[in-house]
Symmetry: C2
Subunit: 233 residues, 2 copies
């Protein structure tokens, strides 16, 4: 038994998609799949002869459109999974904190990590945590829309920091070409939260000077229907 694990990258939005599968049973999950790269992902799932069971989103993204619906149409055993706080009718499973989903001999456990959006989930598989936009490498998600809250994000990252130090951290994005970190590294070197208290973290997050994501007015409505249609103005 071994875990098939494939990080995949979408350059335009610097998004990581993660494909995981049990090498024996072929049952698979995909986390944060992106519309632009759906043909690549479908091709890989077919080549590896995987049985896609769960199409998982860490949150309703504002910077890219998910390929959840197209993937579900292609792989009809698959269910779309989002955190319970997301008002997304297209999800088959609104997962709660602490719940597990099985794929072959592996399981993925949901951890509620709100703050970037109010519905953000992280997911743990063995020694890996998929942190979405809650904890990024040396950084963290912004908190200025979709129910974002720097106070909640501090608590969420503090909770992620209770995972074993050796846990590998796989974020939804990295803009500098880094692919993985670890909990101990982020405790030590994260430029937003490393070694600071909640008040200072909140001050730093609220001082971020960011323009809105270019695609937000398209991406959020589209992702609220799991990418089943592209909403345009």
């Amino acid at each position: 038994m071994s875990l098939i694990f494939r990080p995949l990258f979408e350059k335009e939005s610097s998004t990581y998609t993660y494909l995981l599968a049990d090498s024996i049973t072929k049952e698979a999950i995909i986390i944060d799949a992106v519309a632009e790269t759906q043909q690549r992902d479908i091709g890989l799932i077919e080549e590896l002869a995987l049985d896609l069971r769960y199409i998982i989103e860490t949150h309703v993204h504002a910077d890219h459109i998910t390929s959840s619906c197209p993937l579900k149409q292609k792989f009809t055993n698959a269910k779309i999974v989002l955190g319970e706080s997301n008002p997304v009718a297209c999800a088959d499973i609104l997962i709660k904190d602490g719940e597990n989903l099985e794929f072959g001999n592996y399981s993925i456990k949901a951890m509620s990590t709100p703050g970037h959006t109010d519905g953000c989930m992280s997911y743990v598989v063995g020694d890996k945590v998929f942190t979405g936009d809650a904890l990024l490498i040396r950084s963290c998600g912004r908190c200025d829309f979709q129910g974002g809250s720097a106070e909640k994000l501090f608590d969420s990252i503090s909770r992620l920091f209770t995972l074993p130090d050796e846990t590998y951290v796989y974020p939804a994005h990295d803009y500098g070409g880094r692919t993985v970190s670890s909990i101990w590294e982020e405790k030590a070197f994260n430029e937003m939260i490393g070694g600071v208290d909640k008040a200072e973290f909140v001050r730093r997050v609220n001082a971020m000077e960011l323009s809105l994501p270019a695609k937000i007015h398209v991406a959020v409505p589209a992702n609220q229907v799991c990418g089943s249609k592209i909403v345009t103005d």
Copy 2:
């Protein structure tokens, strides 16, 4: 004992840099480091408190400039390593096929895999092979400059295909956001060499319609001095 393994990506040239280290002794190697991302790489090596021993190039690149020399200036224990067929005076070690270099309790073994350039090396560390531009994911390197030869590349990839099927394949580039493959997958699905004979492979490689890399006239001279100075027209 465990292996620290960090794939790193440079977006402009879609180049992968690989940092590997023994987690106990901290001795480290870096493969195909890029000028644009040298500050990121230096920062990571410093944060992880690594003792960089070898700065390894799979070949003299035509599409980006190496950061070998700046890295060596920063990490003075490190030696620059290139394959023996490269006429590169700045290399400290011109490695031969079959030779090993040690870092902590790990070793990296050189495999001569000419064809993309005449000096191309692949490197094996445990269950991973770093294939440079010889074997790419579902593709292979071009053979139209720097002593390239499709015939030699066929023989080199055939040799890579003698590695165990489960071996992970980490190329120097991927333009589609894939980060890793395996020997069995490339035997089965590689669009250039999968299931074809030498004559057909050579026909396919020679039929590639490619413009020269934008940076070739800067990158090759700069890389022949290990990135110690930027050569401009």
